[in-house]
Symmetry: C2
Subunit: 182 residues, 2 copies
């Protein structure tokens, strides 16, 4: 049915899925759709992965809520065909975005609420300090992440290859700006 290479990949996606906030079968479904050249129907997915039709239906709903898959229709065919919604890069961005909405945003708002109140004693003052530290880190990270989509994979690639060299480029930029201001 599935070639062994493809199967090993799909099963691995299942394992990873369960660590990344979906469950095993949803991970498998996502992996399968990504490496399939042709769009697949719900029944095909159910057969290829040996999972019940109902489970596939719930999985599709979930993957749609993550904006990772799309429906397609073929003329003269009532079935719904599913494909990944965009490139790997776009899908990765969407997972980050969704997780930010679901996990980071509520955390930031809890931290902010907590920081507004006056600390009642020394231990609360310390706690607030730490919360501010966490808040600032999360805030920086989300700002950065929110710019990624506009950056595209090529620029990301050069940024990533640069690695810690980024520090040097930043210094260079600062120097340059200082000179201009003189």
């Amino acid at each position: 049915m599935m070639s062994p290479k493809i199967e090993s990949f799909v099963m691995h996606c299942g394992e990873m899925g369960s660590r990344w906030g979906f469950n095993r079968t949803i991970g498998q479904m996502c992996g399968l759709l990504v490496i399939s050249k042709q769009p697949l129907t719900a029944n095909e997915i159910s057969d290829m992965l040996n999972i019940s039709r109902g489970n596939v239906s719930m999985g599709i709903k979930e993957l749609q809520s993550w904006r990772l898959i799309q429906v397609q229709h073929k003329p003269g065919d009532r079935k719904e065909y599913y494909t990944p919604a965009g490139s790997i890069w776009e899908m990765a961005i969407r997972v980050f975005e969704e997780r930010r909405k679901r996990e980071v945003d509520p955390t930031l708002s809890l931290l902010r609420d907590n920081m507004l109140e006056e600390p009642a004693d020394e231990s609360e003052a310390y706690a607030q300090d730490k919360m501010r530290e966490i808040h600032d880190l999360l805030d920086s990270l989300t700002h950065f992440a929110s710019e990624l989509p506009q950056m595209g994979p090529e620029r990301l690639h050069s940024l990533m290859k640069l690695g810690a060299g980024v520090g040097k480029v930043l210094d260079m930029k600062d120097k340059f700006l200082k000179q201009s201001n003189k």
Copy 2:
């Protein structure tokens, strides 16, 4: 026992813990240790969070395997006191590193193995293409992440504030290098 502000933070850490690869109580333990000025004993943790002593012991082991907490001893006291292992920044880096080891490295090696073999047909060729795309993205990300620790939080902060502006800085650098080569 715990002030309401601190409690709400700790409970929230529990929720987040369960989405980030630990479980709820381990998340709570970690949150509690991070915002406590004083080191805590296992019994104190057990009392403050209302969880069994055995559970705390397992949680400590797990947090140590993530390199997130440290033991301390007080002179003339046999108990073990626990504190976070480093700053928030260092703890975040450790979580990324551990997850890379546990999740990304095995994925990369599976993808590489799969890509070495000759595709048997068109659909395998397509699958291999997609696998290469995933491989290259993960590979870039891990390279970048591996440089973060040497960068420190201040530089990260300026990089993050820069956001998509990074693109422009990269272009600037490229131009600069071209001119030097002429």
